[in-house]
């Protein structure tokens, strides 16, 4: 069953096109990285998926129309944005009690245990905690919800590398193991690419590329080419190249690996590099 089904989804904000005909299908149980530069439309897309903003076109999430059926959708979905959206006046114990009261799929014991493990004082207000502690609170609340879909929009923005790692390790492992669907937009895509099952590249309001991680690993390869062999390698039709120390790195889509290996060690390009390659649409910057 499709967890997300979007057809020609479009949204304009004050005359600026934020989503320009997004077509997207995501099966249940996938861990999908939504990747794109600032202003590409990632946040707008994720907000549309959880019913925060209206869109034109056809959009169904877990069978719901998110805009007209947000409350029902959020019984089955969980949305986590950056730490700054948690109200500073809110007491942690009150946040847990509120979740417990209004969310039918909330397991209070699980959240309490995580908060205790993180040494978060229940009586503390959000405004008195550090960014890392607020992230732990968000994590504990999100993990307490037995959601079919978890939507993460830059959840670790402003956090240091240790917190980012802990956040993703706990959250993504738990949700991925539980067979739930996770959609995640983050700038730190290289940190999470190992747990992703699917990649969605978005640029200027459009989905420019979508594939499974298996396909990505199979199709794309990068090779560090010595300057004197660059012209020969270029003859094999790289989709993108970038400068590197002592030579250039060329990226190939379905390249002949046995021939390419003659130029040097073959590697899988990072997701960020592949994104740059896709967005440049084959142009090779000099």
């Amino acid at each position: 069953m499709h967890c997300v089904m979007a057809r020609a989804v479009r949204r304009t904000i004050a005359g600026r096109v934020a989503l320009n005909g997004v077509d997207l299908e995501i099966e249940e149980g996938r861990v999908v990285g939504i990747i794109g530069p600032n202003g590409a439309g990632k946040t707008t897309l994720l907000q549309a998926l959880v019913g925060l903003v209206p869109v034109e076109g056809e959009l169904r999430v877990l069978g719901h129309d998110p805009w007209n059926d947000r409350a029902a959708l959020m019984r089955e979905a969980s949305y986590v944005a950056d730490v700054s959206i948690m109200p500073r006046w809110l007491r942690i114990s009150d946040a847990v009690a509120y979740y417990d009261a209004v969310h039918p799929a909330f397991d209070r014991a699980a959240t309490d245990e995580l908060l205790e493990r993180g040494a978060i004082p229940p009586g503390a207000r959000v405004g008195t905690l550090s960014k890392g502690q607020v992230a732990q609170v968000q994590l504990a609340l999100a993990m307490g919800v037995d959601a079919r879909l978890l939507v993460l929009d830059e959840p670790t923005l402003g956090l240091d590398i240790l917190y980012r790692k802990r956040f993703f390790d706990m959250l993504l492992t738990r949700f991925a193991e539980g067979g739930q669907t996770v959609l995640i937009a983050t700038h730190d895509v290289d940190e999470i690419q190992d747990v992703l099952t699917d990649l969605v590249f978005i640029d200027r309001g459009r989905v420019v590329f979508q594939c499974t991680v298996e396909e990505y690993e199979k199709r794309f390869v990068e090779v560090h080419v010595h300057p004197e062999h660059v012209e020969i390698a270029r003859g094999m039709g790289p989709m993108y190249e970038r400068p590197a120390l002592a030579g250039r790195v060329l990226i190939f889509d379905n390249g002949d690996r046995s021939r390419l290996s003659l130029f040097g060690d073959l590697r899988r390009p990072s997701v960020a590099t592949l994104f740059a390659a896709m967005v440049h649409d084959g142009e090779t910057p000099e």
Partner: protein, 275 residues
């Protein structure tokens, strides 16, 4: 019902002053009334020197004022709350957090509207009850008793409920502005009302609209001696709650309030778009 109650609780967590201010100021007013009246009734004795009804009426003025001021403080607090209720969650972006939970905009607005329309009236009713109790104790053994339009629990509860319904359209208007205005909500809410008043004044040299707005707002509980502020007393606004309850004006206002609240729900639904 469970989600509604928790929605109201969540409002009170955020705006604790909604109950602290009435408790603090109402308590202080009551203490002053009790002290002042206590001094004045000390010479009376139910057997030897009973208090006459006329004197009791005069000496009840302190408690009567305290009870009315409780209602006035409640109204002022309700207006400030309405101005903050939707603006603050947009201002600090916490609306994204609240909307990540399975609580619809209709329920969220019901919780917010319940604060000025149910919670504050209930709180002020409780404060008036305490005022009645303290007055009874103060007058005990003097032969007199507390005389006021708010002297009985039934009168107090009807007044608190009808008063909230009477002011309801203005509460709903401020909530609507709170859901839309980028800043200075009370100023933005008052601006069109003041503009209408000014145009009326310039065009007709009259202030009927100004009076009507004032009496729809705080006029019912404004100290009687200072009603010249807007040119006098509006008979309907000052009528007993039971009379007001039978007036078309009250129910037309209730319908307007309901329509404005529908507008507030629609406005909140689109609140996340501008973040």
């Amino acid at each position: 019902m469970r989600i509604f109650i928790w929605s109201v609780r969540r409002e009170l967590w955020e705006h604790r002053w909604v109950y602290l201010v009435p408790l603090l100021f109402g308590g202080a007013l009551m203490a002053v009334a009790a002290w002042q009246t206590g001094v004045n009734v000390s010479g009376f004795d139910a057997v030897a020197h009973p208090m006459s009804a006329a004197v009791a009426r005069r000496l009840s003025l302190g408690f009567d004022t305290a009870a009315r001021m409780n209602l006035l403080i409640g109204v002022l607090v309700a207006f400030v709350y309405c101005a903050e209720a939707l603006h603050s969650e947009r201002h600090d972006r916490s609306i994204l957090f609240w909307k990540s939970l399975p609580v619809g905009d209709g329920m969220a607005i019901a919780g917010k509207a319940a604060v000025p329309l149910l919670f504050i009236p209930a709180l002020t009713f409780a404060m008036v009850l305490v005022c009645q109790l303290v007055a009874r104790v103060t007058f005990a053994g003097t032969g007199g008793h507390f005389q006021s339009a708010l002297a009985s629990p039934s009168a107090a509860i009807v007044e608190a409920a009808v008063g909230a319904l009477w002011i309801g359209p203005l509460y709903a208007w401020v909530l609507l502005v709170s859901a839309r205005a980028p800043r200075a909500v009370l100023l933005v809410a008052l601006a069109p009302l003041m503009l209408v008043s000014m145009v009326e004044r310039l065009a007709t040299s009259d202030n009927t609209i100004t009076q009507a707005l004032f009496h729809r707002g705080v006029g019912r509980y404004w100290p009687r001696g200072h009603l010249d502020l807007v040119g006098g007393i509006d008979a309907l606004a000052m009528a007993p709650a039971t009379v007001l309850l039978r007036s078309a004006s009250l129910w037309v206002g209730a319908v307007v309030a309901a329509l404005l609240l529908v507008g507030v729900v629609r406005a909140r639904r689109r609140s996340a778009e501008s973040l």
